[in-house]
C-alpha cells in the first residue's frame, strides 16, 4: 500500500515537472537554446496569479489567463531584447545571457517585494482527498495531471497541425531555408517564446495552488528539474517532456520512500547521466526523427 501511495505521490510531483518541462522543451526544440530564464518566467507567472487573486479579487480562471498573458508578453520581451541580437553568436554566449536574464528577473523581484515567501489563498480551488483502499489522492493532483495531459495534447496539436506549428518546425529544421520560403522567422520565434512562456505562467499558478508557498527564488530548482525532465525524454520532443517529468517525479518519490530522501536529487542526476550515456538523445530522442 505504501508503494502505491508513493507512486501516486510521484505522479503528482512529476506532473508539475512535466508542466514546466513542456514549455522548456518547446523553446529548445525551435531555437536550440537552453532558456535558463524559463524557471523565472514560471515564478513571475505564479506571482502575477497571486496578485491578481489577492488584489484584483478575481477567480481562478481569470488569474490563470492573466498570468499566461503576462508571461507570454514577458517571454517575447526577453526574446527580443536578450536573445534575438545573439541569434548568430556562439550558442554559449546566449546561454550566459540566459543566466543573466534569470538572475535579473529573480533579483528585480526581490528588490521590488523582498525575498519573503507568499502564501496562495486556499479558497481558490477546493481540495478534497479521495481515499481508495488507504491510498490518499488529492483532487488537486488529479487536476494537475489532467491539465498537463491536456496541454501536452494541445501543444502537440499546435506544433503538428496548425500553420504556425508548421512554421515552427520549418524554422527548427533550417531557419535560413524557412526564411527563403517566405516564413517570418522572427515572428515564429516570438510565437514560440510566447507559447512556451504562457505555459510556464500557467504552471506557476497551478504550482502556487498546489504547494501554496511561492517566493522569488522558487523557479531555480523546478526549472533545473524540468530541464532534466526534458533531457530525459529527449529534448525538443513534447511527449518526451511529459514522460520525462513523470518519470523524474516517480524516481524521486521512490528514493525518498526508501528512506534516502537526501539522495533524491542525486539519484535523479545519476539516472540522468546513465540514460544519457546509454541513450544519448534521451528516451524518445531516436524514435522520433522530427523534432518540434
Amino acid at each position: 500500500m505504501e508503494l502505491i501511495q508513493q507512486l501516486v505521490n510521484g505522479i503528482s510531483l512529476g506532473s508539475i515537472y512535466a508542466l514546466i518541462a513542456l514549455g522548456y522543451t518547446m523553446v529548445y526544440g525551435i531555437v536550440r537554446l537552453i532558456n535558463f530564464a524559463h524557471g523565472d518566467v514560471f515564478m513571475i507567472g505564479s506571482f502575477v496569479g497571486f496578485y491578481a487573486v489577492t488584489m484584483l479579487h478575481v477567480g481562478f480562471v481569470p488569474a490563470l489567463l492573466l498570468a499566461m498573458a503576462s508571461c507570454a508578453v514577458l517571454g517575447m520581451i526577453i526574446e527580443r531584447i536578450a536573445y534575438k541580437p545573439l541569434r548568430n553568436a556562439a550558442r554559449i554566449a546566449v546561454l550566459i545571457t540566459a543566466i543573466g536574464v534569470s538572475l535579473l528577473i529573480e533579483y528585480v523581484t526581490i528588490y521590488l517585494r523582498g525575498a519573503q515567501p507568499e502564501a496562495y489563498p486556499s479558497t481558490l480551488m477546493p481540495d478534497r482527498n479521495l481515499e481508495l483502499f488507504g491510498v490518499v489522492i488529492s483532487s488537486q493532483s488529479l487536476f494537475i495531471l489532467g491539465t498537463s495531459l491536456v496541454l501536452m495534447v494541445l501543444l502537440q496539436f499546435i506544433v503538428h497541425r496548425t500553420k504556425i506549428g508548421k512554421a515552427m518546425r520549418a524554422v527548427s529544421h533550417d531557419a535560413e531555408a524557412a526564411r527563403l520560403m517566405g516564413i517570418n522567422v522572427d515572428n515564429t520565434i516570438s510565437a514560440t517564446f510566447a507559447i512556451g512562456s504562457a505555459l510556464a505562467g500557467a504552471a506557476g499558478v497551478i504550482f502556487g495552488i498546489y504547494y501554496t508557498k511561492i517566493e522569488p527564488l522558487m523557479g531555480i530548482l523546478p526549472g533545473l528539474k524540468a530541464f532534466v525532465a526534458a533531457v530525459l525524454g529527449g529534448i525538443g520532443i513534447i511527449p518526451g517532456a511529459m514522460v520525462g517529468g513523470l518519470l523524474l517525479g516517480v524516481i524521486e518519490s521512490l528514493v525518498s520512500g526508501l528512506g534516502y530522501s537526501l539522495w533524491r536529487d542525486g539519484a535523479a542526476f545519476v539516472i540522468l547521466i546513465l540514460i544519457l550515456i546509454f541513450r544519448p538523445a534521451g528516451l524518445f530522442g531516436k524514435n522520433v526523427r522530427e523534432k518540434v
Binding site: 536550440r32 537552453i34 536578450a82 541580437p85 545573439l86 548568430n88 553568436a89 556562439a90 550558442r91 554559449i92 554566449a93 546566449v94 546561454l95 550566459i96 545571457t97 543566466i99 543573466g100 536574464v101 538572475l103 535579473l104 529573480e106 533579483y107 528585480v108 526581490i110 528588490y111 533545473l224 530541464f227 532534466v228 533531457v231 529534448i235 537526501l262 539522495w263 536529487d265 542525486g266 542526476f269 545519476v270 540522468l272 547521466i273 544519457l276 550515456i277 544519448p280 538523445a281
Partner: protein
C-alpha cells in the same frame, strides 16, 4: 642568440611575474596592503585559477562543461580532510586536492566521450550536483554544516599555484597536445580523421583542467575558514563559466582578465547590497549583447602589443557552432 630571441618574451614575463610577487610580498609584510586588499587579491587569484582551468576544457577543447564547481569542491574537501582530519601539512593537502579532482575529471571525462553539446552540458551539471549532494550526505566531512578549516593560505602559496596553473595551461595550449585539443574543438570528426586520438585528448583536457580546479579548491578551503556543500552549487559553476565566456572563448588572457574584473565588480558591489545582483546581471547581459565573443574575443592580451597576427588558440569569429 636565436634561442634567446625566441624565448626572450617568456623570460621577461617570468621575471616580471616574480617581481610582482616580490612587491606584493613586501607590501603585505610591511602592512601597507591591508587585510581587505590581501583578501580580495587571494579571491581574485583563486577565481583566475578556476577560470584558466575551465578555459582549457571549454575554450581550448570545446567540451561544454558546466559542472566545474564539482571539481572545485572535490579539491576543497580533499585538502581539508588531509590537513584537518589527518593533520598532514598543507603541501600534502594541496597536492591531494589536485589529484583527487583530477580523478573526478577522469570519471566525468568518460561520459564526455559519448555526449556532445547540450547533453554533455547537462551531464556535467548533473555531475556537479551529485558531488554536492554526496558531500551533503557524508557526515565525516560535516554534512550540510560543512568543515571548519584553519587559515593556511599565504601569498607565496597563492602565487606559486597561480603561476603553475598559467604556466602549464599556456604551454599545454601551444604544444602538440594543445593543437590536437583545438582541432577537436573546431571539428571533431575531421580531427579524428586526421589521426588524432580524440578520446585521449578530451579526457586529458578534463583531467588537467580539474587538477587545477582542485588546487584552487585547496587554496579556497584554507582561506575562507569554512567550507560547506552549498558553496559549490551549480550557481558557482555558472560563475566560473561566466569568467570564461565573458573573457572570450579560447582566450586565456581573456578568461584571466574577466575573472579579475568580475571579482573587483563583485567586491565593489558589496557596498550596494540591495541592488548588487541586479547590477551584476545587467552588466552580464550588456557585455554579451554588445560583445558576444567576449571582452577579448579570441585574442590574447599580448596581441594588442604585436602587429603581427600570432597563430592563436582562439576560434575563428564566424564559427557560430564551434563551441557547444
Amino acid at each position: 642568440m636565436a634561442t634567446w630571441k625566441r624565448t626572450r618574451g617568456f623570460w621577461v614575463s617570468v621575471i616580471l611575474a616574480f617581481a610582482f610577487f616580490a612587491v606584493v610580498e613586501w607590501l603585505i609584510a610591511s602592512g601597507t596592503l591591508n587585510v581587505f586588499y590581501v583578501n580580495t587579491l587571494f579571491f581574485m587569484a583563486i577565481n583566475v585559477m578556476l577560470a584558466a582551468s575551465l578555459h582549457l576544457i571549454i575554450g581550448i577543447t570545446g567540451q561544454f562543461s558546466i559542472g566545474h564547481a564539482g571539481f572545485f569542491a572535490v579539491g576543497a574537501y580533499a585538502s581539508a580532510v588531509m590537513t584537518m582530519k589527518l593533520q598532514l601539512p598543507f603541501a600534502v593537502g594541496v597536492l591531494t586536492a589536485g589529484v583527487a579532482a583530477a580523478l573526478a575529471g577522469l570519471i566525468i571525462g568518460v561520459p564526455s566521450l559519448r555526449l556532445k553539446g547540450d547533453y554533455l552540458a547537462i551531464a556535467t551539471l548533473g555531475f556537479g550536483e551529485i558531488v554536492r549532494i554526496a558531500l551533503l550526505n557524508i557526515d565525516y566531512v560535516g554534512g550540510a554544516s560543512g568543515m571548519t578549516v584553519t587559515h593556511m593560505t599565504t601569498w607565496p602559496w597563492v602565487f606559486a599555484c597561480l603561476f603553475a596553473t598559467i604556466l602549464v595551461i599556456a604551454n599545454f595550449t601551444n604544444s602538440t597536445h594543445g593543437r590536437a585539443c583545438i582541432s577537436i574543438r573546431e571539428d571533431e570528426i575531421a580531427a579524428d580523421a586526421m589521426g588524432i586520438n580524440t578520446t585521449y585528448y578530451k579526457v586529458a583536457a578534463f583531467v588537467i583542467g580539474s587538477f587545477f580546479a582542485g588546487i584552487a579548491g585547496a587554496l579556497y578551503a584554507h582561506h575562507f575558514y569554512i567550507i560547506q556543500p552549498s558553496n559549490f552549487g551549480f550557481l558557482k559553476s555558472f560563475d566560473i563559466l561566466i569568467f570564461v565566456v565573458l573573457g572570450g572563448l579560447g582566450s586565456l588572457s581573456g578568461a584571466v582578465v574577466a575573472a579579475v574584473l568580475l571579482t573587483i565588480v563583485s567586491t565593489f558591489l558589496q557596498n550596494y547590497p540591495e541592488t548588487r545582483m541586479i547590477i551584476y546581471s545587467i552588466v552580464l547581459i550588456l557585455v554579451m549583447l554588445y560583445r558576444p565573443t567576449g571582452l577579448m574575443g579570441t585574442k590574447e592580451l599580448s596581441s594588442l602589443f604585436k602587429w603581427r597576427k600570432a597563430a592563436q588558440g582562439g576560434m575563428n569569429h564566424g564559427g557560430k557552432n564551434t563551441v557547444a
